[in-house]
């Protein structure tokens, strides 16, 4: 029995290694794709493009405008008319406009100055953030003006000054996060796709019947399909984390790499089982891929990497718990960034393991039904 299984596993491996272009794409997925995605934009406020229409042109307005600066803002242009403001926002060249009225200087002396901010709300997350920043810039500027007013000699005003300290990523470098997220994304997608393809290929070519009449049991058959995926993908993920995320982007890795690798093995097993379960529903690889993506995108967006679980409604939070991706993302960032050990992540590990076993059982069961 052992020899039969080994023969099948060997066949799966050789089928995989024969497809050279596919292997090249696999390499790209864990190197080039991870590297470029480190350069993609996150939702944080960085170089947010603004235009300024300063009709006052006084020292006060210039001082105010000079405070909208890097790294948060980028002054795209000074414009001179309302029409220009409208067209820059319409064309998306700027996402925010600061309009300072002609009487700003005079009213600033009387401490009743106002200016207008027009924000492009079409990307609501960064728009909200930009508004909060501008508000606090205006507030700080106000306080300075207020203190400078006659009658404020030497005395302070009651004020809360926030002293932020950021743990684990003091400069909030987005690249550390996004390159790692891309490794997880690739791991997820490729584990599902490779496993699904291994099964659908047999169905498309009609070789499933050969396997069925062979003395192999469905359980062995599935194990043989999973072994190459579970061998290759976690290794690729580990190499990518150490080589690209840590090597190229100098992301600090604080936790146990061995723990990360061990749980990645379980995770890939879970996702590959999901791929097999999907393959049982599909007749062609095209169909399988569509079903994969139907599951993949909601799982990714619900993983907690894009918005925190606490921001979701109850329904989505519950669904999220059933997704291995959610547990894995939480696990991996905790271990790699925070240096947390099993004491912190055991629930995630149990979640991945439990879902993995359940998915494997479902796919074997579905396939067994298919046979009959």
């Amino acid at each position: 029995m052992r020899r039969r299984l080994l023969a099948l596993i060997r066949k799966e491996f050789s089928q995989l290694f024969r497809d050279v272009p596919m292997l090249l794409f696999l390499v790209w997925a864990f190197t080039g794709a991870v590297y470029t995605s480190g350069h993609g934009g996150g939702t944080e406020l960085r170089q947010y493009p603004i235009v300024v229409l300063d009709l006052s042109q006084g020292p006060s307005s210039r001082e105010l405008v000079s405070r909208f600066r890097a790294p948060y803002f980028k002054l795209v242009a000074q414009v001179w008319s309302d029409d220009e403001v409208v067209s820059r926002l319409d064309r998306g060249e700027a996402s925010l406009a600061v309009v300072i009225p002609p009487d700003f200087e005079r009213r600033a002396q009387e401490a009743t100055a106002r200016f207008q901010v027009i924000s492009d709300g079409s990307q609501s997350m960064s728009a909200t953030l930009a508004a909060a920043h501008i508000r606090s810039i205006a507030y700080r500027y106000s306080v300075e003006r207020l203190v400078a007013l006659p009658g404020f000699t030497g005395r302070g005003i009651p004020r809360i000054d926030t002293r932020p300290r950021v743990e684990y990523n003091p400069n909030l470098v987005e690249t550390w996060f996004s390159s790692l997220l891309e490794v997880f994304t690739q791991t997820t997608m490729i584990a599902m796709l490779l496993a699904a393809a291994a099964m659908v290929r047999e169905r498309e070519h009609g070789t499933v019947e050969h396997l069925l009449v062979s003395p192999l049991r469905p359980l062995e058959l599935f194990a043989a399909k999973l072994v190459p995926v579970v061998t290759l993908v976690p290794l690729a993920a580990l190499t990518s984390v150490l080589g690209v995320v840590h090597g190229a982007f100098e992301t600090p890795i604080r936790g146990s790499v061995a723990l990360f690798y061990a749980v990645t093995l379980i995770y890939v097993f879970a996702m590959a089982s999901l791929g097999l379960a999907i393959a049982a529903l599909a007749r062609t690889l095209g169909q399988a891929m569509m079903l994969l993506l139907l599951i993949f995108y909601p799982m990714t967006l619900l993983s907690g990497a894009f918005s925190p679980p606490e921001s979701q409604g109850t329904l989505m939070r519950t669904v999220g718990v059933l997704s291995p991706v959610r547990h894995y993302v939480d696990f991996a960032y905790q271990v790699l960034f925070k240096g947390n050990g099993l004491a912190y992540v055991w629930q995630d590990v149990l979640g991945i393991l439990g879902l993995g076993v359940a998915l494997f059982a479902i796919s074997v069961h579905r396939f067994a039904r298919l046979v009959r």
Partner: protein
Amino acid sequence: VGDRLLAIARKETRQLLRDPVYLGLAFVVPLMLLVLLGYQLSLDVKGLLVAVIDRDRSAWSRQYVDGFVNSEYFTLVARLDSEAEAREWIRSGRARVVLDIPPDFGRRLSASETVAVGITVDGSYPSRGQIALGYVEAVSALHNEQLLRAWLVEQGRRSGQVVPVQMDMSVWYNPTLESKNFVVPGMLVIVMMIFPPLLSALLIVRERENGTILNLYCSPASRWDILAGKALPYVAVSFIDFLVIFGASVWLFQLRFVGNAWLLSAAALLYSVCTIGLGLVISALSRSQLAAMLATFLIAVAPAFTFSGIFAPIASQDAVGRFVARLIPATYFMDVVRGAYLKGGEAGAYAPDLAALGVYAAVVYGVAWLALRKRVG
């Protein structure tokens, strides 16, 4: 010549119609994704978990903390006693933000002094960390304004002078600042980059796997006939896909749509030509269906998601990111789509986007044409 092209197109259409499950999936799956994203999945960061170390326990500190309790952006999860405990809560992810209010908080404020409040933020999710800092800043600024107002009244000053420089905010295009209003149109761009290329990426490689590609090679049909004949029915499918999603977004989701539907449709047609062409290139270069699927995900789908500017302005990306963004058609279509749904504006403003899509189409079909020849030789 046109006859051969049409014959190939007819054959592809027939093959497409013979697999109704597949064709059905091509319509149902994008729609399901949209329903899910449009109705359920919110990308707005709200209810962030915040914990407080209140070393003062005065009316002053309570009022400040109330500002967080009453904000929809925060959920107060715990009152802690020590910094060590705070670190532990951040470390285990039970809190994303910890406020550390010093013991002299109330005394200093009542003495008209500045008081420093420690804010510890979990930076392991950087965007979220920055958003959390922004929110803390905003809540604090609001509280400062109240403090100032009370103090000025105490000093017998005009309350109009509370804030010497005030900001009036108006939000255009998406006044309620809901992520749904741009995520759903944004997903239209992404979804049209997922399913049409997936369909067309299998077209040539499947024939190669089955060996039927030789029939095409031996036929008098030119490479152009083959490419155009295969592309035509799929461009039609992609365009119908667009119409379905567009209709659903406007009538089902009641999304704001202020632009020109004809302009959007024209851009969608051009975008479909691009995405189908990209699939054909991948198909011509791949040796197996699996490789074609993987390549589609890596070359078409993933960059569209990361670089097209669905979540944040493209200007926020670094030089490499902006360069990649300019190379992919999704960026240009995203511009048209966002304009059509949220901004309106004159059609002429989108001419550069349409031109870019046109250039992309020409390049893609050119490459596919070259790739197809290599295999014949």
